[in-house]
């Protein structure tokens, strides 16, 4: 490239630091301070991507976060590559590798470009309309549609980068470090407020910092010079924390905001090692000031999407900030005065400006007069009707507008150009305001939506509020900020601002062409290829709500979220339907403002930190003894202990056999434990459990079933009476926290008169449960002085003993049907007591067993597991546990619901046992049960809830819930599986030891 595109006088780009980068395989150079976009433009590269649907060549269009076209794949590492990165936002670093997306084989020659010629066949809703028939083909269509959908490629490997989260609190949060934000920051700081100032760019100052025209003056200085002094002042201000490269992602209620700071994306890859890549700030601000500025709008005309067509403000920024000319034959196309600043910048930098086309009849503002005086040709009341140049614009055709502005007249004029700078006015960035719940109002003068009502302590200032001219921006920002902060005076009160004032306004949402609309391509949403035609088609087809039009045409649904497209879409809908834009409303602005990587959202909560997990005091022993673990709630519970490569089935068979024949030991520490004290503790238990507790003696244990107020089983467990007015309740492992808060709820809100105190002691005690015919011998070896005779220590009783200095609470309770003792000690002695039991049990082949064996053993006895055999729709009656419902108690939680018309239905699902006709066939849990599988639709009677192979009974057993199950005992039913149908017989729920003899060893 020998074109002279780089201008050598810039303060923001460091030309002593040359950086190399690779674009589509070609090595190019730029400078420190460039964005990828400015570096590409300095290499005369406009064409960077292909559009989504028609694969039209597209170039860099903007200089900011609104960029719809220049979205690139950054990096080529499978783990680190980043899709859809806006070239206008990423700072250039040495060794940057980037590639165009959505094109094959290359951006210059893209096979998909054929879609452009097929475009008459691909109108809005094409996919909806075409792929509906025949319905059964959808799966086949979907494969191909998904393949061609999407822009960039996601990384395929785990993200190795580090991300961070941090909470921030401040008096005043200021979003946007442009001139109005800076002034507000200073005013707030002078009032001794703690200010947090966020700026998404590398430098503060917004667009004024590189403003180079001689018309705008602040306090008789060049506006940019004045601003630089203010910035220096703010940087040294201890009340102001500045976060640059930080973009606000979301603004939630109660002034809770999320902002993402880029920490390493601007560094060369080698300099990033061990550094945090991005940080998500979770900010709670007392007050928020939004000074996010405005985005320039394009104009909508035929072929307005060619590479080389750019926003006028972007052309200006590339010259004034980056020192890069976007073209050597420039033309400006505008409907307002701001593009004349671009004209002055082009002129000042010695860049050729062939003409200005202005749809207005004339303008005589100071800035326009200045441009006129430079002898630049201005075509008033003209519009662009067509552009030429496939991969780069090279010609435009203009025509005169008629009086109404809805057609063109006269003869065509052709102009050469390699860069067309367009401006259709400005749109305030009200995204954050509306995200926070603020309501907008429409300003007919400037055709913009501006902030109106909000419930939050917030303020919009500057062009984000709809002020576009320098004097309005400054004076209103000062005035509004003072009022917002309730300040009388500020150091800015005597500010003197001079600037050009716009006098003429004209806006045409869809510019006319010499061709009928159907033959033109006036793009609204560049990224999603939706045109004005698509909007009109949607309206013709009956879509009225703007939300529907958006979804049907996909306007505003790209990665840029329609930052450039939405206003024109609204304008065209309003014009076509003869509606006031204010009545039409806008589509919903949703967070994030710019896309966030998943890494930033999850922060440090990855891998082992994804969720909290809880370990019992014996955990290390389980690990050392080869346990496999199961997640139960947040607990890691030993699941089974495979020996010598045993399968789970084999291990469970061995463990359960040992428990039944000699002895087994289970870590039961995870069971929820609630310490209940108070003079009304007994009454409290009577109210929360279905059974009666009044007669329970000290030192005795009782099983209790807890219901919800709707009568459904909620939790179960054994409660022990430790002393007068003192109980220890156990709950299921997963239900502990919920039971605790439910009980608290009743105590605090329904029964505040009860003298009861609840304390969660789950983590304070560890529990080793020793069971089996030899359990008594083992416990006796440890506690030599303890009388374990059935008379002194019967089933369902409790003793407190000492082992050396260790207090032990021993409960003789059983979930396996075997004689068993649960030894509770303070958590820190958990591993000690466990190892003590293992050692004492050695001669009896004491076998550690996990949750799987526990489940098998209890299923043999027909004991339920709440949450496995119940699912929130089972009453105790459904479970055939009528025996546990006290007939004498007047009330308990859920009692009244047990005789609602629904709960007394006889055809409810009820818990039953199932035996397979083939004793070796093990049913699958969750399998459906039917009576007749031929009569369709097949009537589902219920499903299997628990299923195991019992080594003691040498057959498969299962529990199931079954419609009218109680009446079906002995009936033959079917369990259809994918490859066979299993025959089963309904049985009793207790499979082993119906007489309960084993409980005594």
């Amino acid at each position: 490239m020998s074109k002279n595109l780089r201008i050598n006088n810039k303060q923001f780009v460091d030309e002593t630091r040359k950086l190399s980068f690779i674009f589509n395989g070609k090595k190019l150079y730029g400078y420190k301070g460039d964005t990828l976009a400015s570096a590409l433009l300095s290499n005369d590269i406009h064409l960077v991507g292909r559009s989504f649907k028609y694969h039209r060549p597209r170039g860099i269009m903007t200089s900011g976060s609104e960029e719809p076209n220049a979205i690139l794949q950054i990096g080529n590492d499978d783990a680190l590559t980043d899709p859809n990165v806006r070239a206008t936002e990423i700072e250039l670093y040495d060794g940057l590798i980037c590639n165009s997306q959505n094109c094959w084989p290359s951006v210059k020659f893209d096979i998909g470009g054929i879609n452009n010629f097929l475009s008459p066949l691909l109108p809005a809703g094409f996919y909806y309309k075409t792929f509906m028939w025949p319905a059964s083909f959808w799966e086949k269509y979907e494969y191909f549609i998904r393949k061609s959908a999407g822009l960039g490629k996601s990384p395929t490997k785990q993200d190795p980068d580090m991300y961070d989260h941090r909470y921030m609190h401040c008096d005043i949060l200021i979003v946007g470090g442009g001139v109005s934000g800076l002034i507000a920051a200073k005013i707030a700081s002078d009032d001794n407020k703690k200010v947090l100032l966020l700026e998404d760019k590398e430098l503060l100052g917004g667009s004024l910092i590189y403003d180079d025209n001689d018309i705008s003056k602040i306090d008789n200085q060049k506006s940019s010079e004045w601003l630089k002094k203010l910035i220096e002042n703010i940087k040294n201000d201890k009340n102001i924390i500045i976060k640059t490269r930080t973009s606000l992602a979301a603004y939630h209620n109660y002034n809770f905001l999320l902002a993402r700071q880029n920490l390493t994306d601007h560094l060369s890859v080698n300099d990033r090692n061990n550094k945090i890549r991005q940080r998500l700030y979770k900010i709670r601000a007392k007050k928020v000031i939004i000074s996010t500025g405005a985005i320039e709008r394009p104009q909508v005309f035929h072929n307005n999407d060619r590479p080389g067509i750019m926003l006028a403000s972007a052309v200006k920024k590339y010259i004034d900030y980056y020192g890069v000319r976007c073209g050597l034959e420039n033309v400006i196309f505008t409907n307002n005065d701001s593009a004349y600043e671009t004209a002055l910048s082009l002129h000042k930098s010695g860049t050729k400006l062939n003409a200005i086309i202005d749809i207005r009849d004339n303008s005589s503002s100071e800035i326009v007069n200045k441009v006129k005086s430079l002898g630049i040709q201005i075509y008033w009341n003209h519009t662009v009707v067509n552009t030429k140049g496939y991969k780069r614009i090279n010609k435009i055709t203009i025509m005169k507008l008629n009086d109404k502005g809805n057609d063109v007249v006269g003869k065509k004029i052709e102009l050469n150009c390699d860069c067309l700078a367009i401006s259709g006015g400005w749109t305030p960035m009200v995204h954050l305001f509306t995200q926070s719940g603020g309501k907008l109002k429409f300003d007919n003068k400037d055709n913009i939506f501006v902030p109106d009502k909000t419930n939050l302590n917030q303020l919009s200032i500057g062009s984000a509020k709809g002020d576009f001219e320098l004097d309005d921006v400054l004076k209103n920002s000062i005035k509004d900020t003072k009022k917002f902060l309730q300040i009388e005076n500020s150091n800015f009160d005597k500010i003197d601002v001079k600037c050009s004032k716009e006098k003429e306004k004209k806006n045409i949402w869809l510019l006319p062409s010499d061709k009928p609309l159907s033959k033109t391509k006036p793009f609204l949403d560049y990224q999603n290829d939706s045109t004005a035609k698509d909007i009109k088609l949607a309206l013709r087809e009956g879509f009225k709500s703007i939300e529907h039009v958006k979804r049907y045409t996909t306007t505003g649904m790209g990665t840029d979220q329609g930052k450039l497209a939405n206003m024109h879409a609204l304008g065209i809908v309003a014009d076509t339907t003869n509606t006031n834009m204010g009545d039409l409303g806008t589509t919903t602005f949703r967070p994030p403002y710019t896309p966030l990587t998943f890494g930033t959202i999850v922060g440090r909560n990855v891998g082992q930190f994804f969720d909290i997990f809880r370990k019992t005091p014996m955990h290390d022993w389980h690990v050392d003894n080869n346990a496999k673990f199961e997640n139960v709630g947040q607990w890691k519970r030993a699941w089974y202990y495979p020996k010598d490569g045993e399968s789970m089935h084999d291990a469970v068979q061995r463990e359960s056999k040992a428990a039944r024949e000699s002895s087994g030991i289970l870590d039961a520490s995870t069971l929820g434990k609630i310490d209940i004290q108070g003079t009304d503790a007994n009454e409290f238990l009577n109210r929360v459990y279905t059974n009666a507790w009044s007669k329970l003696q000290i030192g005795k244990c009782r099983y209790g079933l807890m219901l919800n107020e709707d009568g459904m089983v909620y939790d179960d467990g054994v409660t022990t009476k430790l002393g007068e007015n003192h109980y220890l309740m156990t709950t299921t492992t997963g239900g502990a926290a919920n039971v605790m808060s439910k009980l608290e709820d009743y105590l605090q809100t329904e029964w505040p008169e009860l003298d009861v105190f609840l304390t969660s002691v789950t983590d304070h005690f560890a529990t080793a449960s020793v069971c089996g015919p030899n359990a008594k011998k083992i416990v006796n070896k440890i506690f030599k002085d303890l009388d374990l005779s059935d008379e002194s220590f019967p089933h369902m009783s409790f003793k407190e003993v000492k082992l050396g200095n260790i207090n032990c609470r021993i409960m003789r309770i059983s979930f396996t049907g075997e004689l068993s003792y649960e030894i509770n000690v303070e958590a820190s002695y958990g591993k000690y007591i466990w190892e003590k039991c293992i050692e004492a049990g050695k001669e009896f082949n004491i076998t550690p067993y996990g949750t799987e064996t526990m489940h098998l053993l209890r299923a043999e006895k027909g004991f339920i597991i709440v949450g496995q055999d119940t699912d929130g729709t089972m009453t105790p009656v459904d479970l055939q546990m009528d025996w546990i419902i006290s007939k004498k108690k007047y009330d308990f939680i859920g009692k009244r619901s047990l005789y609602r018309s629904d709960t007394i239905r006889e055809d409810r699902k009820q818990l039953v046992g199932l035996l397979t006709d083939d004793p070796n066939e093990i049913l699958e849990e969750g399998a459906q049960i039917v009576k007749d599988e031929n009569k369709k639709p097949v009537n589902m009677l219920g499903h299997v809830t628990s299923s195991y192979f019992s080594p003691t009974l040498k057959k498969s057993i299962a529990l199931a819930v079954l419609k009218e199950g109680k009446k079906l005992k002995g009936q033959k039913l079917l369990v259809p599986m994918i490859d066979k149908t299993i025959k089963v017989t309904v049985s009793d729920t207790v499979f082993l030891d119906k007489e309960n003899e084993r409980i005594n060893g």
């Binding site: 109660y254 608290e744 709820d745 329904e750 505040p752 007047y890 009330d891 609602r900």
Partner: protein, 91 residues
């Protein structure tokens, strides 16, 4: 994300609290006296209004205390926080 002024602990983030639904629905003192419809009214029927709604909240990850909140459901603004047992404010 709300900021909730727990009457016992002060202003805390919403993530420390759980909502317990509509407030001022007292559990009937004599459930057995109620017919199915009356019981169902207590058990299932909840208001879902646009405007000020009285709710129960619990400072679950804090003091574990329950209290009442008057919240405007149209904008989530908390108009009033008051303790259990107190009457709903006139808003």
């Amino acid at each position: 994300m709300f900021l909730i002024n727990c009457p016992y602990c002060g202003e805390r983030d919403q993530s420390e609290f759980v909502s317990g639904g509509e407030a001022h629905i007292a559990r009937p003192k004599q459930p057995t006296e109620l017919n199915d419809d009356q019981w169902a009214e207590y058990l299932f029927m909840r208001k879902n209004i646009k405007g000020i709604q009285f709710e129960r909240w619990n400072h679950a990850h804090g003091c574990r205390k329950w209290f009442n909140v008057a919240r405007d459901t149209s904008n989530d603004k908390i108009e009033k926080i008051y303790k259990m047992g107190e009457q709903p404010p006139k808003l």
